[in-house]
Amino acid sequence: MPRSNEADRHLLLRAALRAYPPADREGYGDELLEAAIELSADSSAGREALGLVRGGVEARVARLRLGLRSIALRAALSRLALPLTAFVVAIWAVAGVGRIVGTTHGPNHSGLTLGAVVLLTLVVAVASSVASQRRLPATIGAGALALWIVASLIWQSARGNVVTAAPVLHLNIGSWWFGPSFMWALIPLVLLLVPACWCMPPAAPRVPDLRRPWVEYPPLRLVTVVLPAAVLGVILLRAPQVLVEPVTRETTEIPGIAFLMVLVGVLWVATSPAFDDRLGAACALVGLAAVPSVAYGAARLLMTGLTDLIAARDLYVVAGVVCAGAFIVFAIWFFVVVLAHIGLRAVDRRGGSPLAVGHAVVVGPDDPAQI
């Protein structure tokens, strides 16, 4: 073989070798190149070069997969869950403050958008569930995501009797945050919290000297006791906030204040270094707090949906009600069965008492006209 051809062949194969990751080239690149040169003498340099490129790509993919597997996804999720939870809760708090002071009252107020946060949270929840091989929450998350989008597209359009797509990604902060539409936004949060609970390291058996937040922290007892009492008072006094009627400026925002108390409690628990298991405690608190509000939102959705169904007999309304109904089943089952069970168990196994908080306070007045 002429020397120039041989040099070209070597050059080609050496170039093809660069398809391999640097670590592989350093490890056995010379040996690989020698084998390719020898084999190319029997076949063709082009075929060997293609083989090297293909092998290099496969080696890179294998390294990438190995690298992904080695990432501590569960630990990463545990670290990610808390700031994300705090972020979403903080947005709630902004809405709550705005509602109380009246600055975000009204449907035309344009402020922060929640939709992107909700979708991001959903995606993170589903991805983390898949990554940690939790098929159940991943499936539920995917189902909820689909239902949420479909229901947002159809239901809200139907509510306005307008056959156009509602803006999925743009949810203004307003008083209707405390209505059924807002309650839908709780689902992604829970989808994040549930895998976060499951991703916590295995609990050790109960030990006598384990710290017990309920016993040791008076503010926690205060929040837990005062809140249901406040809610009960509002209900017994038939305050307008718990009735299905338009909001008036004269309304005393007791539910909103109580809701803020929950938020403060959650944030305090979640950020206090005094707790052994901040995430678990915060999950349980949020989860429990959300149960009544979701039930309320479900009832409102069903009632208004049925009313519209009867009145309009419109295909979009029917589809919207069906989607909303399916979503409600998802939501209630998810909140009550899954989150409460897992969250409380996680807390209890770590020595905390179940943080039972009432949460009718979340369901503030809801003006259907603003939805």
Binding site: A16, Y28, D30, E31, L32, L33, E34, A35, A36, E38, L39, D42, S43, R47, E48, L50, G51, L52, V53, R54, G55, G56, E58, A59, A62
Partner: protein, 108 residues
């Protein structure tokens, strides 16, 4: 366990008798398969890497020939067992098919 690919099978088969280096494995695999398996260096080293990772072959030694390092590989007990099982599976499959073919001929 899933059936081995033809390339993997003949790489293992090439190592059945003695440790060999990459080029030798590729050549012998081609001969054993009567030319059906034509391994490029890229394919060969991918197969070798997977077999090493699964503990079915190991590096035996490194020899320097004309200034070039040559790494030799040999079968482990696991690799030999895998090759034996696969060979038996192929033999059984071939026997079944042979019987069906013969039966067809007799009926015909």
């Amino acid at each position: 366990m899933a059936a081995l690919t033809e390339s993997t099978y003949f790489v293992l088969a090439a190592l059945a008798r003695e440790p060999m280096h990459g080029y030798g494995i590729a050549k012998l695999a081609g001969e054993l398969s009567e030319g059906r398996v034509k391994l490029t260096a890229g394919t060969l080293y991918g197969v070798l890497a997977r077999l090493v990772e699964r503990g079915q072959i190991v590096e035996d030694r490194v020899e320097v020939v004309a200034g070039r390092a040559r790494r030799y590989y040999r079968l482990t007990a696991t690799g030999r067992e895998l090759l034996t099982d696969e060979t038996e599976r192929l033999r059984a499959t071939a026997k079944t098919v042979r019987e069906r073919l013969d039966a067809q001929v007799e009926r015909g």
